[in-house]
Symmetry: D2
Subunit: 147 residues, 4 copies
């Protein structure tokens, strides 16, 4: 399964909506934080990917909302790699309220490997090998990180 | 299939990200605009649903990103009802750049019928019957609306 | 005083917060829409400024919140030029609920003239002359535009 | 002058815009984080103010943008109380890049004391006395907090 990286976020006032809970689109922003910290923890920061001309635009996303999060609650974003193909990487996420057992949300995003002008890249090294390695790891490493 | 309601949006500067294209989470906001205008066009505004104690929190969402949208581009959001069950309604969406043929994105959202305290509602009337009616309509009505 | 351009927006669900009103930061986004439409209506779209290498980052902003806006309300954003100096332009804004007389908010933003690398530009033509002209105009032109 | 509370944030990808820097409206969100942590550090969480029926809507805001922040940079938000009147409290903020000496932005927000229905409150206790106390404190306490 490979390692899971856990990042902590706290719900901002501006992330709530008039129902008094977190607005649905913000979970995609939290997923982004999750994979940013996954990269930083296990390889190099995503800013270095960009400097070397490798970009990871989202091509597909899926979210299941389980129980609402409220203002000022803290939540853990657990991120892992779900699949790596020659042209894409998929991450999966679980968002857990810090003080409740019920999941807040779970989902996944798929990302194409792209060059600076948006052209698809095939197995861009050294990133591709690094990603592959994560999926083969038998180690279930859990690292807790403040964002 | 039932009617399609088309709403026009224009990409805001703040909706772009450092890749120079629309940030992925904003499509969920546009889906929300699409279903808001669908309700207004074919039944009553969503604000009236709320006043009558019926809320539609998102319980699942799916997005496929096809081609990026840029700052100041206009796009058409086509919204239709995909499925109605006793406890939920699902909308599907297509986001089309106004001046290009290639789709920008497509997706769907599923919504639970809920009361003010978040309790699940079964077939809440008169909304349930109205939604059901939309799915049975043989009319492919297309209405273009500014938001 | 020069012309005023009026743009119509409708409050999105995601723009509200748990107080049930529009979250304060969104007014800056609406100000951006106001000046985008001001440029489009009276000169060339801001995208053309960018293509010619002239950027207008915000260097100062001020907002007075007068009465809250709610979900699905429509509001008029009135935009005008307040001041032009050799290195900056300032716009002022009034946000008016469509169906109430009391102002929702008012404010202004000041923008530096910058080149692509962020260097300050002095009186960049043809934009500078065009901006100056707006402030000298005795005509109080009011144009209503959907965004 | 009273105490300063310092909170650390990291720039999210979605907070950038097509200029490659943080979009201007996000600073208001960071100011909100600053005052949230100020309350938590020195009195009770803002959620408890709300539970006791005291709300602090923003009535005025001012921001000076000094130098742009980029994706994945960390910044310190320094928050202090600027002024307390019988009907309002004002906070001031400085946003400092963690690894550069030049300020990213500074500003202030003024907040009315309001009841649940939006009515103005005069010197709401115990919050009013607590706020007053902060301004009288000769101690320049600096606390660094992860959000």
């Amino acid at each position: 399964m490979g390692p899971v990286i856990t990042t902590v976020i706290r719900v901002r006032f501006g992330e709530t909506d008039k129902m008094g809970i977190v607005y649905n689109a913000n979970y995609l922003t939290w997923f982004e934080i999750g994979r940013t910290e996954f990269c930083r923890a296990l390889s190099v920061p995503y800013t270095e990917w960009e400097e070397q001309g490798v970009f990871l635009p989202v091509v597909e996303a899926h979210i299941r909302y389980k129980s609402p999060l409220k203002y000022d609650e803290r939540a853990l974003i657990e991120t892992r790699i779900m699949e790596v193909t020659s042209h894409s990487v998929s991450y999966s996420y679980r968002v857990k309220p810090e003080e409740r057992s019920r999941l807040a949300a779970e989902g996944w995003t798929r990302h194409a490997f792209c060059g600076p002008e948006g052209r698809l890249l095939r197995e861009p090294e050294p990133f591709y090998s690094w990603l592959k390695e994560q999926t083969r790891s038998s180690l279930e490493e859990v690292v807790l990180r403040e964002h």
